[in-house]
């Protein structure tokens, strides 16, 4: 599914969270880089339909959320910045609940849960209450949950914040492998430079505006910068 964001603006009181954002998210992996307060979570709120679009529009393969909400939601998987698991339920109960919300039969759900947890090295935690999982494991469960219904759109809002290097690398590699195995549009929001790779489609969001949108290596050569840190400093200075 191709996501097109057109002239999107959003404000909270007098402060503007997004300013005239226009962006096309093609199939594959797109990294949205921006500091805290750049407007990433607002953009996610609008993409997921949890916040109402005030100005501009978003379409998914030409369909708007307003008109085709159910079809789009059936194809969308989201990992929110905030933990959204039910900590009193087990891993399996959390995942089964989500599967049922997407109309997946219990038998099929159990098969998918088993496959996903194996991929995310969590199979032995199936009957563990989420309350007893560490932060890294919880994040992996959230990732498994957003993949149960085989979505073609994946939105991940800072999915690796606060995690150790091993968990971060595992989550990133699982998601990148998925984009290579099947046609998916993935938007990965982060403020961590070390998650950016030269072949990534990189979108930089700063103070509610898109300041750059291209393949990372192209951006480095166009702006004649040696690495992502230098590119960031350069673009931020340019857009202050």
């Amino acid at each position: 599914m191709q996501i097109m964001i057109n002239k999107l603006s959003h404000h909270y009181g007098t402060s503007k969270a997004l300013k005239n954002v226009t962006l096309t998210l093609p199939r594959g992996f797109t990294l949205l880089l921006g500091p805290n307060g750049a407007g990433k979570s607002t953009l996610f709120g609008l993409l997921t339909g949890l916040q109402k679009i005030e100005q501009g529009d978003i379409t998914f393969d030409g369909q708007s959320l307003h008109h085709s909400r159910n079809t789009i939601m059936a194809n969308m998987g989201v990992v929110f910045q905030q933990n959204t698991l039910d900590i009193d339920l087990t891993v399996q109960q959390n995942l089964s609940y989500f599967a049922s919300l997407h109309g997946i039969s219990e038998k099929k759900a159990l098969q998918r849960i088993s496959t996903l947890l194996e991929k995310l090295e969590l199979k032995e935690r199936l009957s563990t209450k989420v309350r007893n999982l560490n932060g890294g494991h919880r994040r992996r469960v959230e990732l498994a949950r957003c993949l149960i219904h085989n979505p073609s759109i994946l939105l991940l809002d800072e999915p690796t914040v606060g995690l150790d290097m091993a968990s971060r690398q595992l989550i990133l590699s699982v998601v990148k492998n998925l984009t290579q195995q099947r046609p998916m549009s993935v938007l990965w929001a982060t403020h961590l430079f070390e998650e950016v790779h030269s072949d990534d489609h990189l979108v930089i969001l700063f103070k509610g505006s898109i300041v750059s949108d291209d393949i990372c290596s192209t951006l480095l050569s166009v702006h004649k910068q040696p690495n992502i840190d230098a590119l960031w400093q350069y673009l931020i200075t340019e857009n202050q």
Partner: protein, 260 residues
């Protein structure tokens, strides 16, 4: 799709209820204290004349059983709404709202799941009431079931509506004190309306206007195999209005609103 979604919501609510077994205990302790202690003390102080739906003079214990059953429904419905504030604060409300089925269906599923939890509590309470010889007919217990469901839907939708306008758990607990207690005490749950009229005409008018009184009387009549048609229609209309408003309030928010 819809059926699986409903079963999923129902299973989750039942699992949560089972995990919070103290909630069942506390839900029952309150009305049982009222029935065993309060009613015993007030039996002689409160003389009850014969009024509909009763066909003979009754003991005070028998009078307050429908009111206490309605109290269980009231507290459980509001507590379920409280859990929605918790869900929203913990972010799990987002998961529900991202399901590819209409939000009205999701809200209705959540409410129906909670009504079943209420019904379980009420029937356990009826079993305890047998100890003080309040035994109703089998048909009465059966007729009461849809009424308990309806009353629970109404109060649940009311709680849902309130929950959506309350931003924090602490505020919600405060508001509950201003909603639950006035609804309960200004009703016919503990004393007949004519008693209230003897005390004060304006207090009587408030009690008569209170929709919880309508619900209590509807339940009271059903337990005696009678239909209070006006009360039934009133509760159905009120449920439709509050549910529509509750669903409407869960639509995506603009910049002034919240994420979920």
């Amino acid at each position: 799709m819809y059926w699986r979604c409903f079963i999923g919501v129902l299973t989750r609510e039942m699992l949560k209820f089972w995990q919070q077994r103290t909630r069942l205990l506390s839900a029952l302790v309150r009305p049982l204290l009222w029935l065993f202690v309060f009613a015993a003390g007030f039996r002689s102080a409160l003389g009850l004349s014969m009024t509909e739906p009763y066909s003979s003079y009754i003991l005070y214990e028998e009078y307050i059983v429908p009111g206490l059953a309605a109290m269980i429904v009231l507290f459980n419905s509001m507590q379920s709404s409280l859990s929605m504030v918790y869900d929203r604060e913990m972010g799990s409300m987002k998961v529900l709202l991202m399901s590819p089925v209409p939000r009205a269906f999701l809200m209705a599923s959540k409410l129906i799941a909670n009504t079943l939890v209420s019904a379980v509590q009420v029937y356990i309470f009826f079993a305890f009431a047998l100890i003080v010889d309040v035994e109703l007919s089998l048909l009465g217990y059966l007729y009461a079931f849809p009424i308990i469901m309806l009353l629970s839907l109404f109060l649940g939708a009311l709680g849902l509506l309130l929950a959506n306008y309350i931003k924090q758990l602490e505020n919600f607990a405060g508001v509950m004190n201003f909603i639950i207690f006035p609804l309960f005490f200004l009703s016919s749950a503990l004393y007949p309306l004519w008693k209230m009229r003897e005390a004060s005409e304006w207090l009587y008018r408030i009690c008569a206007f209170n929709p919880f009184t309508t619900g209590v009387e509807l339940l009271r009549f059903s337990l005696y195999e009678k239909l209070a048609l006006y009360d039934l229609v009133t509760i159905i209309v009120l449920t439709s209005i509050t549910f529509s408003l509750a669903v409407r309030s869960f639509r995506p928010k603009t910049s002034k609103g919240r994420l979920s």
